[in-house]
Each structure stands twice: as structure tokens, then as C-alpha cells.
């Protein structure tokens, strides 16, 4: 399928922050569902954030459960001196809050003595620390003052009470926004790309922006804690990930303006995303066309290789990361898959508007989850491929459904032209495998 030149000329993009794009053209109905949820909490965001910010440490203040979760989610990463840990609350910490603060200070001081390479320390709130109302933002201020000049201490909540999976990244980046230096009042327009991307993907985008003549492009988070990009009224924000509502809001509060766009997944999404930025910076269409042509060509060819396995197949998304609408869009528009239900843990109408507009008519979009009712719907729909978490994948496979476990979509580089084929392959592989096995 080729959408690009048409899309380039007139990308179907609504005005920013209309907040009601789901109802604008009646393309897809959004249902809100409540009930038991089978999702990760925001602590899991630490697993990829700590790889990205190379001199940051994430200290979860929580229970043994939090440590156990981090260990289960991190897999073998746990054995590689990771830059995260859990300060486990014990019986005596629950007795008096003053005591818990002293304990925290002591643990942080010991940690920083042992790890002098740490420039930025995140105190990460958990369900237990929130329920006992341990004030981590005050603790962060106190500890920042104590370790001033050496280590900055920030706090955010990754608790299951407040955050679902990738929202942990949103909370972490939002904590960074007040720390960002102010862009000079009369600074030239600068582009801020927000959202953790694999280094290889980030470098690809940086090259494309440079080739378009954008000479002031920054990424958040930066790879080092002391390299926080500036922000101000001259800043235009381009979200690389869909789950960054709070970060976007805080950046806008600092005067930055957001560039609405679909997310850079697939050939079309990447093109629309890059073009939206280009347009905001006055880059002419011919330049965009010239710069993106080789990547688009490669992406289209890579996607075409997987079309045979995917075209016409029906796909069902359980909620996990908020990437679901964008993924459903790529799979339906560029690989001819048929989305049956697209569930997402949280749907920010303003940010997701451009994506929802591109979804085929009649797709059921669900915000939230009632896991049992959703499983019943999935069984009834008998999709060809079900995207779900690891707690559901094997049980659904045992019922004869082919699944794609969703966490991989967060950990693998899937954005941009060069990864479009890999993205398609992630979905094609389980189907291919199901066809191969004769036992």
C-alpha cells in the first residue's frame, strides 16, 4: 500500500487538543471499561529507562513485592549490576514516619557512596509508600540539598495505584521537566523529541532531521543526566511515544508547543511524524520527500515481505502499553490486517486523535479493562492473532489462540523506517510458527 505522497500532501491531522477526536468522524467507537486488570504497574518502566539514562539510578521505595516484580520483569538484566534497586520497607518502617525518612536518607547516602558514578537519583514511589504517605518529593528535596553538586535527587510515582506500565516513563520524564533549563527567550525554534527510543532509532531520527536542515534537535530523556535539553516558548515538542500525556502537559506549561502527529511506527506513521515536524519548521515538501525517500522505500520493501503472512488476519489487542492504537493502525493500513478490538490502558483523546482517525471504520476501541469479560470477547471473536501480556499468552495459546506477547513491543526497537520490517516480523513470527508446528 502506498499512502505516503497523498498523506504527505495533506496529512489528515486534527487541530491539537480538540479532546474529542474520537467522536469527530465516527470512525471508531471508544468504550470505557472498568474491572479487574491484568497489567503491569509503572515501576516496570525503570527497566528500559535505566538503560537509556546512563548515569541515573532508580531507587524504588516499596515492599518485597516491588523488588520481586522488578526481578521478574528484568529477567537476566538483574545480574548485570543494574542501576536500580528497591529499598524494602520493613515492619519497623511502618511504625513511625520520621523513622522511615531517616532510614531512607541512610540508604541513599550508602548507595551514593558506593556508586559515585550516579549523577541523578530517582526516588520511585510504590503502592506501599503511597499508602503510608511517605512524602518522597520532600525526601528528594532534602537529599538533593544534602548531595548538592554531586547528585540530583528527583521523585515520581511508579505505583500501580497511579500508573499502568509505560505511564511510569511518563511520570519519570514529567519529573525531569521542571529541571530542564529554560531556552533563551529569543532562541531560534528548536525541536524536542520526547520519549525513550533505542539509541539506534534515536540516531536514525537525528540524521533525518539534520538532513532536513533542522539544526536544533534534542531528545528527552537524554543519555546523560547533565545533558537535559532546554525548553521554552521557542520549543516545539514531538512525541515519539504515545504514553506521555503528563510530560507533554508540563512541557506545554513551560511554553513549548506540541506538534500533533501519529506516532513513528511503520512507513506511513514515520513519514507523517517526520513531515509534521518538518512542516512546523517550514521545511518544504520537496526536501522532506528527498530526505525520506530512501527510508520509505526500504520500509515499504521490508513490510511487503511480511504482508503475505499478515494480510487479512484478524487481530485483537489486550491493553498494555498505550501503543495499541498506533500498532493497530500500522497493521491495518500497511499490512492489511483486520483489527477486531483495540484495547489500551488509557486513551488520551488529544494525543491519540491522529491515530484514531487513521484506524479503519468499525474498530472497537476500549479504554481500560475487565479482564474476564475481555477474555470472553476474545474467545468469542477467535482472532487469528491476540496481542497480550505474558500472564495471558500461554493460557490463550492453550485454548488454541495464537498470541503475540506485548512486552516485547516496548523493549524492541520498532520505531522508524529501518525497524518497520522488524515490527511486522514480531507479529508475523507467531503466525508463521503456528503454521510450522505439526505436533
Amino acid at each position: 500500500m502506498t499512502v505516503s505522497s497523498a498523506a504527505l500532501a495533506a496529512p489528515s491531522r486534527p487541530a491539537p487538543d480538540t479532546g474529542a477526536s474520537d467522536a469527530s468522524d465516527g470512525a471508531c467507537a471508544v468504550t470505557v471499561e472498568r474491572g479487574p486488570r491484568e497489567v503491569f504497574c509503572g515501576l516496570t518502566g525503570i527497566i528500559w529507562l535505566h538503560r537509556k539514562i546512563q548515569d541515573a539510578f532508580f531507587l524504588v521505595v516499596g515492599s518485597r513485592t516491588c523488588a520481586h516484580l522488578m526481578q521478574s520483569a528484568a529477567g537476566v538484566m538483574i545480574f548485570a549490576e543494574p542501576r536500580f534497586a528497591t529499598a524494602i520497607l520493613e515492619e519497623r518502617d511502618l511504625a513511625g514516619l520520621a523513622d522511615a525518612n531517616d532510614e531512607l536518607d541512610r540508604e541513599v547516602t550508602r548507595l551514593l557512596e558506593r556508586r559515585p558514578d550516579i549523577k541523578l537519583l530517582f526516588l520511585v514511589g510504590s503502592c506501599p509508600s503511597e499508602v503510608i504517605k511517605l512524602d518522597l518529593s520532600r525526601a528528594a528535596e532534602r537529599l538533593s540539598a544534602r548531595h548538592a553538586g554531586r547528585t540530583r535527587v528527583l521523585s515520581y510515582s511508579g505505583s500501580g495505584l497511579d500508573t499502568t506500565f509505560t505511564e511510569g516513563e511518563d511520570a519519570a520524564l514529567a519529573a525531569l521537566v521542571p529541571e530542564m533549563p529554560a531556552a533563551a527567550a529569543e532562541a531560534a525554534p528548536n525541536l524536542l523529541v520526547v520519549g525513550t527510543l533505542a539509541d539506534v532509532v534515536e540516531d536514525q531520527f537525528a540524521r533525518l532531521f539534520a538532513a532536513m536542515g533542522l539544526d536544533s534537535v534534542h531528545f528527552l530523556p537524554a543519555r546523560h543526566a547533565d545533558a537535559l535539553p532546554p525548553v521554552g516558548p521557542s520549543t516545539r515538542v514531538l512525541l515519539a511515544q504515545p504514553f506521555l500525556a503528563e510530560t507533554a502537559r508540563l512541557l506545554e506549561k513551560r511554553g513549548a508547543r506540541r506538534i500533533p502527529a501519529p506516532f513513528p511506527l511503520g512507513e506511513e506513521g514515520t513519514t507523517l511524524w517526520l513531515s509534521a515536524a518538518a512542516e512546523a519548521f517550514g521545511v518544504d515538501a520537496a526536501t522532506v520527500e528527498r530526505v525520506t525517500a530512501p527510508g520509505r522505500e526500504r520500509a515499504r520493501a521490508a513490510l511487503a515481505r511480511h504482508k503475505g503472512a499478515l494480510a487479512g488476519r484478524r487481530i485483537f489487542f489486550f491493553p498494555d502499553s498505550q501503543l495499541e492504537p498506533a500498532l493497530a493502525r500500522v497493521l491495518s493500513r500497511e499490512l492489511d490486517m483486520v483489527p477486531v478490538e483495540v484495547a489500551t490502558p488509557y486513551l488520551h483523546r488529544g494525543l491519540m486523535g491522529p491515530e484514531l482517525d487513521l484506524l479503519p471504520d468499525g474498530v472497537s476501541v476500549v479504554e481500560g479493562q475487565h479482564v474476564y469479560e475481555q477474555m470472553d470477547r476474545c474467545r468469542a471473536a477467535r482472532p487469528d492473532l491476540t496481542v497480550c501480556g505474558l500472564g495471558l499468552a500461554n493460557p490463550l495459546e492453550a485454548e488454541g489462540l495464537t498470541t503475540k506477547w506485548s512486552i516485547e513491543l516496548v523493549f524492541s526497537p520498532i520505531q522508524g523506517y529501518e525497524q518497520a520490517g522488524d515490527l511486522a516480523e514480531l507479529f508475523a513470527r507467531p503466525l508463521l510458527r503456528a503454521g510450522l508446528l505439526k505436533v
Binding site: 479487574p36 523488588a67 516484580l69 538483574i78 536500580f84 548507595l111 500472564g391
Partner: protein, 541 residues
């Protein structure tokens, strides 16, 4: 507050999940915030269960804290009963819900459900996973079998004439290290003795099975950490004696047969005569001579660590140079056993302490958990897994018990394998430095060979760095600084270094370490040939 990266055990509610999920028709309603469902994937991924764990979560979020979370408990319990139609309901809190004021057990009891409700009180900030499993199984047994207990002081009625003696198998759960195969192995062993297994619980048992626990003649406690609390209560309530020997290893299996025969009133000799483990012969065959005196460091849960130490010392001919457990509840038992091997038991759940102890003990083989496997990898030591926590590869498809006759065979293979691999690596490395096979020599049978010889390329990936216990990888070096780096001031004279290289490769690393230690302890700054041989004499005394 305690800083932790790796934990040997999960929170106690994960122990309760292991009991509920191992059973049939028992459902666990867990008052827990959104996100605690992560524990499901331990069962679906590590144990590869084809169904969801038998747990319903309330998954409350911040917005629910405003309203009555108690309602959520009631709704979840009611829905779970309707949807899963369990025969018994376990109800409890995770760590966060423990801090709220709700009483899930009490709330659920007021619903008037038609199934027995067993409230669980698992103190998350004091206790851990295995204790949670033991407590849950005990509560369940009390609640379901308790009503059938005869009045205290009643004598156990004698077994009916001609009836086969029977026992329960207590302790196996979901996510247990080799529980599936141990049950099969021990059931077979008991059957071969003419003993009927009445109920195996929790693994595979129904609620109805649990109510029948009191009917067996005695109890076999397979995993004391999980089964003993319930077994003690059954002993008191029903007068059922229990076993205390865990049949891991040939000797322990023989002791177990004797103990069980005693409890069943049978003659153990025919069974003992029929046992045919391959371990004893394999261990006596001359091929195993090189195993003699290999220094083994043992760490794991209490039961597996104690059993492994005995197998190591008595059945493999190893020297036990370290013994420890992460289970404080069983510290006393492990200490007593360790004393017998002349070592001080290591009781800790801090993996850094374990790493330190292993580095200090300089073992030839580490027997431990998944964590010790990684520690051993970093230190360049052979290692085999003997205890939970374990990764997915230790829930194998093949039959791989630890207990009984086949278990002993499995232990022999599993423990020797990394050593054989280690020896192979050393030999490859040794030949690599041979005058004919050194790295720069081309393969003689290929014309015009360049620097990249086939020998080298084959040997390279698996070949250890030139000194096997002093890994050259950066991470490893940082994790385990060589004695030289530690002592700082010891240097090798060129002549001594040359002499060292005449020592066969596979003992060279040890010689280097010993010599440096010897020198450091005596304040010798330059190691000469004399120092080298002084050290050799000293250590081989």
C-alpha cells in the same frame, strides 16, 4: 529499610498463590493494587502452565481508595465464585492491602457464599514466600480437614485387617523446584513398597482431598519448608506420624525407605535390595576419581542445601567448603549440619554476601540457585542448580526428579556435567598454548593458512582466559578483583612468571592465586621462583 536488587523469595502472598494454583478447585481472592498481577507470569512463563493461576485480584487504583475498597473485595469474591465455581476460597491481602483497614477474610465471610472461605493472614513486611505457602496450606488443612478431627486424646484406630498402609505426600506446590517429578518418583517408590499414596497435597489436590487428609496412616513430608506446619498439626489432630528424612541422594533415599517402612510396619530390606541407583557405580568408576576432594560450595533452600551437602560429601567424594541457606526459619538445622563438615553455615538472603563467601571459599564447584549460577559465571566457576529460585530451564520437559533413585542419577549427571565441561575447556585451552596449536600457528593441513587458524577459531569461543579463575572480562574483573589487585603490592619476577607458565594450564590459575596469597600474607613483594615453590610446599602440606 533494606536495599535489595535480587530477592531469593517473593512476598508471602506469592506462596499462597503457589498453593492455590497447584491445587484444583481452590481459588484465591487477593486484595491487591493494580500491577500485582505480575506474579501470574511466574506460573504461565517459568512453569509454563497452560492456564491462568487460580487467583482473582481486586486491582484497586488510586481512584478506588476514595470509595470503599471493601466493596471491591466483596465484588471480587462474589464474581470469582460465580465465574470459577470453586470448592473453597482463600482470601487475603497483598502487602499494600495489608496497610488498608479492610479485612478481606471477614468481608468475604459476611457474603454468605456457599463454599468454605479460608481467611489468610500473611504478614508481608515480616515473612516471605515459602512461609506464605506453608501457612496457607496449614490454614487450608485446618479449615477443611479440621472438622473431621477426632476429639483430642483419641487413639488412632488400627488399620483395617488386610488393608495396605497409606500415607499422604505433603508439601509439593506450583512453582516448586522439580516438585512434579519428585512426586512421581516418590509415589512410585512408596507403591513398590506396598504403600498407597492417599492424598498428595497441595499439588494436584482438590478441596475434597484435603478434607480426607486425616484418613491416611502417616504423612510423608517431601518439603519441610512448606509441608511441615500442616504435618505437625495433622500429627496432633489425627495422630498421624510424619517422616523427617527427605529422600534426596542414595543414602537419604535408603534412610527414607527405612523410616517409611518403620511407620508402615513393613520390612525395608526387600525394597532396599531392589533399589538400583546408577550413582554409586558411576561414582566408583575410575572415570570419577578426578572428582575426589573437589571443593563444593552449597547454597539454597534449607532442605536442598542439607541434602546436597550429604550427596556431595558421601556420594561424590567432594569436600564441602561452604554450606548455607537463605531461609532464616531453618538456620538452626543448617548450622548443625554445617558443623559436621567443619564449616560455618552462611545464613543470609543477601546475594552479595553469598558472592563474597563463594569468592572467599574458592570452590571448584558451586551448587546453588539461579543466583549462584550467575555468581559462578562471573567468577568463572562450574555450577549446578539444586534449589529454587530457578529460571524457566529448570522446569524441564523431561522427567528430572531430585528425589529417590532416579533423582540420584539426575544429581550425578547434573553436577558432573559442568565439571566435565570445565575440564574440557581447560584441555582445549592447554592445547591452544601448545607449541603446535598456539594461537598464531596456522593449521598444518591447510595450505597458506593465515593467522586465523581453525584450531583457534574453534577453541576461542569456549576457551577460558589465560587464567581461569581470574576472568579477563571487564565486568567479571570488576566483580572479582584478583588477589594481586587486592593486595596491590605483590609482583611477579620475570623468571617466576616463566616458571609459572611451565605448570599445566588447568592448575596454573590456582597456583598463581595460592602463591600470591602466600606472598601477601608474608609481606613478600616480589615473587621469585623460590616463593613459588615455597607456596607450593606450603599449600600441599
Amino acid at each position: 529499610m533494606r536495599l535489595t536488587v535480587w530477592t531469593y523469595e517473593g512476598p508471602p502472598h506469592v506462596g499462597a498463590m503457589r498453593v492455590a494454583t497447584g491445587m484444583q478447585g481452590v481459588h484465591y481472592v487477593l486484595h491487591a493494587p493494580q500491577g500485582d498481577t505480575y506474579a501470574d507470569l511466574l506460573f504461565t512463563m517459568i512453569e509454563r502452565r497452560p492456564s491462568r493461576p487460580a487467583v482473582s485480584y481486586t486491582t484497586f487504583q488510586a481512584r478506588d481508595l476514595g470509595r470503599d475498597t471493601a466493596d471491591l473485595v466483596r465484588e471480587t469474591a462474589r464474581d470469582a465464585c460465580e465465574r470459577f465455581k470453586p470448592d473453597a476460597l482463600l482470601v487475603g491481602s497483598s502487602c499494600t492491602a495489608e496497610l488498608l483497614q479492610d479485612d478481606p477474610g471477614g468481608l468475604t465471610k459476611t457474603l454468605g457464599l456457599s463454599v468454605p472461605v479460608v481467611p489468610l493472614d500473611l504478614p508481608s513486611y515480616q515473612r516471605k514466600e515459602t512461609w506464605g505457602a506453608a501457612e496457607t496450606f496449614y490454614r487450608l488443612a485446618r479449615a477443611l480437614a479440621g472438622p473431621k478431627a477426632p476429639p483430642p486424646g483419641t487413639d488412632r484406630p488400627p488399620r483395617a485387617e488386610g488393608a495396605a498402609p497409606s500415607c499422604n505426600l505433603l508439601g509439593p506446590t506450583a512453582l516448586g523446584f522439580r516438585h512434579r517429578d519428585d512426586v512421581r518418583e516418590i509415589t512410585g517408590l512408596l507403591e513398590s513398597m506396598g504403600i498407597r499414596v492417599h492424598v498428595t497435597a497441595p499439588l494436584g489436590a482438590t478441596a475434597a482431598d484435603v478434607t480426607r487428609l486425616g484418613e491416611a496412616d502417616f504423612n510423608v513430608v517431601l518439603y519441610p519448608e512448606i509441608g511441615e506446619t500442616a504435618a505437625r498439626w495433622l500429627e496432633k489432630a489425627f495422630g498421624q506420624p510424619r517422616t523427617t528424612t527427605v529422600p534426596i541422594g542414595v543414602g537419604a533415599t535408603r534412610d527414607f525407605v527405612r523410616e517409611v517402612a518403620g511407620l508402615a510396619g513393613l520390612d525395608p530390606e526387600p525394597t532396599l535390595a531392589a533399589l538400583a541407583p546408577r550413582l554409586p557405580w558411576f561414582s566408583r568408576s575410575v572415570d570419577s576419581t578426578y572428582l575426589t576432594g573437589k571443593r563444593a560450595f552449597v547454597f539454597g533452600d534449607a532442605t536442598h542445601a542439607i541434602a546436597a551437602a550429604r550427596v556431595a560429601a558421601e556420594e561424590m567424594g567432594f569436600e564441602v567448603v561452604g554450606l548455607g541457606t537463605y531461609m532464616r526459619e531453618f538456620a538452626r538445622d543448617v548450622r548443625a549440619v554445617a558443623k559436621g563438615y567443619g564449616v560455618e553455615a552462611l545464613i543470609t538472603d543477601d546475594y552479595l554476601e553469598v558472592e563474597e563467601a563463594i569468592a572467599e571459599a574458592r570452590p571448584d564447584l558451586v551448587l546453588g540457585t539461579q543466583m549462584e549460577r550467575h555468581i559462578a559465571k562471573r567468577l568463572g566457576l562450574p555450577c549446578a542448580v539444586i534449589s529454587a529460585p530457578v529460571h524457566v530451564q529448570d522446569f524441564p520437559a523431561r522427567h528430572a526428579p531430585q528425589m529417590g533413585v532416579e533423582g540420584a542419577n539426575v544429581l550425578f549427571d547434573t553436577w558432573v556435567h559442568p565439571l566435565m565441561m570445565g575440564l574440557e575447556e581447560h584441555l582445549l585451552g592447554m592445547f591452544r598454548e601448545d607449541f603446535e596449536f598456539h594461537a598464531d600457528a596456522g593449521p598444518s593441513h591447510l595450505a597458506g593458512a593465515s593467522g586465523s587458524s581453525s584450531v583457534r577459531s574453534v577453541a576461542e569461543p569456549s576457551a577460558p582466559p589465560s587464567s581461569p579463575s581470574e576472568p579477563s572480562g571487564q565486568g567479571a574483573a570488576a566483580a572479582f578483583p584478583s588477589p594481586v589487585a587486592e593486595s596491590g603490592s605483590v609482583v611477579w619476577a620475570a623468571e617466576a612468571e616463566r616458571e609459572l607458565h611451565k605448570i599445566p594450564f588447568f592448575v596454573r590459575g590456582k597456583a598463581r592465586r595460592n602463591t600470591e596469597r602466600y606472598a601477601a600474607e608474608r609481606g613478600v613483594h616480589t615473587i621469585t621462583v623460590e616463593t613459588l615453590y615455597d607456596a607450593k610446599a606450603y599449600f600441599s602440606r
